[in-house]
Symmetry: C2
Subunit: 449 residues, 2 copies
Amino acid sequence: IAKEVAKLLEMKAQLGGEEGKHKFVLKTPKGTRDYSPKQMAIRERVFNAIITCFKRHGAEVIDTPVFELKETLTGKYGEDSKLIYDLKDQGGELLSLRYDLTVPFARYLAMNKITNIKRYHIAKVYRRDNPAMTRGRYREFYQCDFDIAGQFDPMIPDAECLKIVHEILSDLQLGDFLIKVNDRRILDGMFAVCGVPDSKFRTICSSVDKLDKIPWEEVRSEMVGEKGLSPEAADRIGEYVQLHGGLDLIERLLQDPKLSQNKLAKEGLGDMKLLFEYLTLFGIAGKVRRCRGRRGGCPRGRAGCGRYDGLVGMFDPKGRKVPCVGVSIGIERIFSILEQRVEASEEKIRTTETQVLVASAQKKLLEERLKLISELWDAGIKAEMLYKKNPKLLNQLQYCEDTGIPLVAIVGEQELKDGVVKLRVVATREEVNVRRESLVEEIRMRTSQ
Amino acid sequence: IAKEVAKLLEMKAQLGGEEGKHKFVLKTPKGTRDYSPKQMAIRERVFNAIITCFKRHGAEVIDTPVFELKETLTGKYGEDSKLIYDLKDQGGELLSLRYDLTVPFARYLAMNKITNIKRYHIAKVYRRDNPAMTRGRYREFYQCDFDIAGQFDPMIPDAECLKIVHEILSDLQLGDFLIKVNDRRILDGMFAVCGVPDSKFRTICSSVDKLDKIPWEEVRSEMVGEKGLSPEAADRIGEYVQLHGGLDLIERLLQDPKLSQNKLAKEGLGDMKLLFEYLTLFGIAGKVRRCRGRRGGCPRGRAGCGRYDGLVGMFDPKGRKVPCVGVSIGIERIFSILEQRVEASEEKIRTTETQVLVASAQKKLLEERLKLISELWDAGIKAEMLYKKNPKLLNQLQYCEDTGIPLVAIVGEQELKDGVVKLRVVATREEVNVRRESLVEEIRMRTSQ
């Protein structure tokens, strides 16, 4: 039972002795980066907000390996499969790095025959994409997923997912935002009643998606000119997709003589209406709009939310489905916004939590410093000292200034005789003698807010 | 600025519609595993103890990518290089999964020209080893590393690393333990004065390592018989390596007429003596022994600690060295011990932190439940509800029993009229009416310990 702990890890020992002056390309792989302590401090803030929210909604947490059997990922990502990182065949199983956390989650559910769970999972995923790192687009990036799996009454879990997105974006104070929602059945139904042939659904869909970026006239001419849609059908689509609104629009569409005859559209609009009713009860309907195309522009690195009722069934030997809905928050973009904000504000971010530096003003007090710091550590105080036999007091105080340590515990000949420690408040330069036996309590009191 | 959040992540949407009954091998890759919510709860406890300790010692935290350029790892692991996972060449850079956190740390220091840092890093590393999962030996496993880099007075950072190991092993209450330390220079010096030829140092060393498992006589006959060492040299080694002890033994060896003439041994013993003096001040010398061989048996998944003063220089274009010492804690073995202990104790582990379930006793109160839970979430209360329109009260109470939720907030017609909520304590079945405006405060009070 972990009885032995060895100094000199074999490997490290071997490395320690070798000389080497080889030339290396000193970089991280394309599309990846290190996180420095300062960046980690910002990252922790973001994770904290997200995890606190996920826990507030009663989620459990799971973890899965960074790689999966290659066949687990096969057939799940369509064209994007080419972005999957494969591992080299070194004998044994063929493996791939996970592309998202959704497919591993579905595999986990099917493998463990779980039909009912609310879980979150925060981990890195991998895509051989074209990186654009200044815009927060990486090849290794975090996803923060919250998913609800199980057979429930319609739209209740869906509404909770949107509430979660709303809570997190509000909490992180990233500025104003709008959540766009959609139901594929609505657009499919619209296409049907507008006379778009089934074979053209997907391509017309992608034209509609461009409405966020280019005006309707251009989209229309693409549909008619490039994609061979009849002008009449295009105009009918135009009438629908140029409408804006929330619950009011859904009500209007439900009254629409043509659309209300289409089964798919009717179901989609019905669920959407229910969703908006729940969002109204949650007080967030004002931040949610129905979007025109398939998607409301859900670039990676922001947040996406959706149902995937068929995925678990793809893993189950009998194809048993487990309805799922979830939200995925990408932190890289959020993180780069916050990082820029911190840079601009000149806010000083502490990268340690050290409460006190154990210092001495005179020489030959290393042993006394070691004894004192050991007492503090054993009492749970976060303490540091300089790793020098005889550090200068000025250097010790400077270290506190640089790293934001609020207190200095100074041992000296006289203090040792008197059974006290001199406690200095770095910010005010105030110094008080504290009896050794009260030191821990005094430090705790002065560093608790 | 994250203005838009979309429902129906494109990928997920496509998956949701497809049917699939393919046969998959439903497993995680060899040597890896998932963590269930219950396992995650135990893992979090272990991480908590470790991170708390690292922070108590004033460490910053960094993160690096899961893969490195293949050439970054080349030449760092000797024979173990064959255990490195390579990524498939899909065009672009050749990449490998990290084998430990030490080499990425050294790369990070050299790349950023950092000569002075105390940092921790907790992350998964990858080895194509023969897994033995019941004994906590995995191909994907966590390392929890704490390292001190910089030019300091001898043995002060080394002593702190051992103090950290002592604190963590004590804190986790894994039972009694012994920390074994060594300095390669001592064994090298012993070999020299015993008349072991330089060419046989390494192989004789590996014989000495076996002393933990087999008696001296067998080790001796291996040295003489298989490895061709002279019987006299073997006997001289035997005299040294069969000695046991801490500081007292080091003192004796420093007085040894032959050994004290050897420069390497003298330096090694001098540093070891200093180390033990510091460990005595830290109050942990009693748990530390000098081990006989190169290593004290530092199997993966426990803890290892050592210097690697040459590694950073291998990355620096001018070969500039940064002395480093660090400790690496493997949690898999610790985790499996704790997991077994939890199983045996039948301790009920909660996997969520939910404070209250929002419930109703009558039908048609979904909207009131949604309104109330939204109020609670917005006030920071961890709350859940069942995703059913009209759940039975018994099912709602059962859910609390199953998941350990301590309180139920029940809305009903009468309570709504009276402006109150019925708060039920699950453990005692006590019920009190609480005014709606005091509910948040009441829940906070009853769930704070």
